[in-house]
């Protein structure tokens, strides 16, 4: 390819798409034309990207003409419909939705962990993992390489923007309703009453609450979000039998997913060794000095690229286990950044002489 590849961003006006445009502005420029696509609702919106002012176009078959790489930051059902169309029109699809992640013929790629899988795409589609999985797996994979992972027990603290722009808007609206009333939060149901019926994309109020539910119901009482964490981690690590059990909980944080992880390994852990492994791991920053108030937190990790890992300690009652806490920006590494990294691998390939 003599020219730089043409990139389309589908869903450019959403929570992930907005961060995508920011990222494209800051990173190495490997793209020729960049085309921003969204629904009819957004046609004509101006978005700054890479120093240019771009106009959002409707997602149509014609709008995909000449596109080399199409980043999909749209809902599952939109991705399911449009990915094969984009592929037929000649694009490689990098999909951020859940539509193709568990498809045997679609690789699930995290460039820090399994970049080679990007070439293995019989359907022309490469998938990117769920935001909670990405945040956590970046820290777990290098520990697995060193110590041999046997089991993961996870509990998440997930931000509302994980449910898209509507999630963020909902928490802002709810906070405006509850802030200032110092009597709230002391009686059963009083926050529900103050928040009212508009729960946005959530099954319960998020302001002054935690909601132990994300996604839809699957067998045995597990949420789809919990199943994604299990299935996607297994696929990324190439360990189809890995023992994983997760509880996914939404918290009143705008952006930044956190996970409390208990990881059991095949061999004994020395905690300094584990810390060293994490310090040298790509995409990881170790923030672990509790006495100095340093641990990973959403308000610090938001807007940054790496997964922040801290509270690293050897389990007291099991020398082969490690407990730690990890926080990452669900819109960056958890979504847009991973997509952009995958797309850059593809661009490199396309422009290789």
């Amino acid at each position: 390819m003599a020219r730089l590849p043409t990139l389309a961003v589908l869903g450019a006006t959403g929570a992930v798409g907005t961060v995508m445009c920011e990222l494209l502005t800051g990173r190495r420029n490997v793209w020729g034309e960049i085309r921003l696509l969204a629904s009819e609702r957004s046609v004509g919106r101006k978005v700054r990207c890479r120093g240019e002012e771009l106009t959002v176009q409707a997602l149509t078959e014609d709008a995909l003409d000449g596109v080399d790489v199409a980043m999909f930051d749209v809902p599952d059902e939109v991705a399911r419909h449009w990915a094969p169309i984009a592929v037929r029109r000649g694009a490689i699809v990098v999909d951020n939705s859940a539509a193709f992640r568990m498809d045997r013929d679609v690789p699930l790629v995290v460039p820090e962990i399994n970049p080679e899988q990007v070439a293995n795409r019989p359907r022309g589609i490469v998938a990117s993992a769920n935001c909670t999985t990405l945040t956590m797996i970046i820290a777990v994979a290098p520990l697995h390489d060193e110590y041999g992972l046997r089991e993961l027990v996870l509990a998440s603290y997930q931000a509302v923007s994980g449910a898209g722009q509507a999630g963020a808007d909902t928490l802002h609206d709810q906070l405006a309703k509850v802030a200032g009333d110092r009597m709230l939060g002391a009686r059963t149901g009083d926050v529900r009453q103050a928040v009212g019926d508009d729960l946005g994309p959530f099954p319960a109020p998020l302001a002054l609450n935690v909601v132990p539910w994300a996604g839809s119901l699957t067998d045995g009482g597990w949420s789809s979000e919990e199943m994604k964490l299990r299935d996607e981690s297994r696929k990324i690590l190439g360990m189809p039998d890995l023992k994983i059990s997760a509880t996914c909980v939404r918290v009143p944080v705008l952006t930044g997913h956190s996970v409390a992880a208990h990881a059991v390994f095949a061999t004994e852990i020395d905690v300094e060794g584990a810390r060293e492994v994490l310090r040298n791991a790509p995409g990881v920053i170790v923030v672990d000095d509790p006495a100095a108030g340093e641990f990973p937190m959403p308000i610090d990790a938001v807007g940054t690229d790496p997964s922040w890992v801290g509270r690293i300690r050897r389990t007291l009652d099991d020398p082969r286990a490690l407990d730690f806490f990890v926080t990452g920006d669900n819109l960056r590494k958890g979504a847009a950044l991973n997509i952009v990294q995958v797309a850059e691998l593809l661009a490199e390939d396309l422009t290789r002489p």
Copy 2:
């Protein structure tokens, strides 16, 4: 004893003490005089309790004269100093602080689990457990009785009022500062800047954040709160070698601690059996219909007595393990209610002919 016993509430003006006065109003009346004590700062304050308007007195040796049962809802160091004095003056002390919990000569009593221990008090002191421990152990103990507990992996979602009235005030103040600014929560440090330097009893802002830290630093990077969960659970269950590992996290909730629990047992679990055990357990309410939006949450559990248990599911990769989520009011079962239940056991004893 011909008369009804005299009760003193130390720390009646605090977060726990305030709920204590409410509880005393609603429960069976087993007390004669009730005396409310606090620091010099609160002397003369009027508090409604049991339909009477009581005047807060200063905690002095004389104020303890004639007290049969003294409930301690004061900081650790105040409890450490005053408990032996109250005992010398003839009172039985029921202490909510951490000062004596791990003392071999002080029983750690949860009336639903080990009520008989209340009689075993060589120092004249009975201790009540940490709020997170209490919330969770109420659900774990009956499962242990049925299936034989082997290991617990816990992650907590702790409310700010667990750090006393100052904790609750801090979150209210911070929410007032961040609410209404829809740009916040998207850039590293922006919430820190909006909140400013007044962090109250916490090491970081709580508004729009989660803070994976509570208490002080102990060996190996564990927080004192995490060690309490381990030590106190072991003591209450009488299992000094129980494997426990916990990550304690503070969240922007006013009242209501939650715990995501992964419990491994000696025998296989059938989830309907486990649900039945929990349904019949004292102090537990099962709220477990995710499709109908029913799971335990702080905004519902606050102001109620039981531990709410839900998201009950057998671990997919381990038939002997159970995952569940539990929420309780940290000021009720987590503090005032447990104390009041223990004190009522003592009152029964004292008034038995």
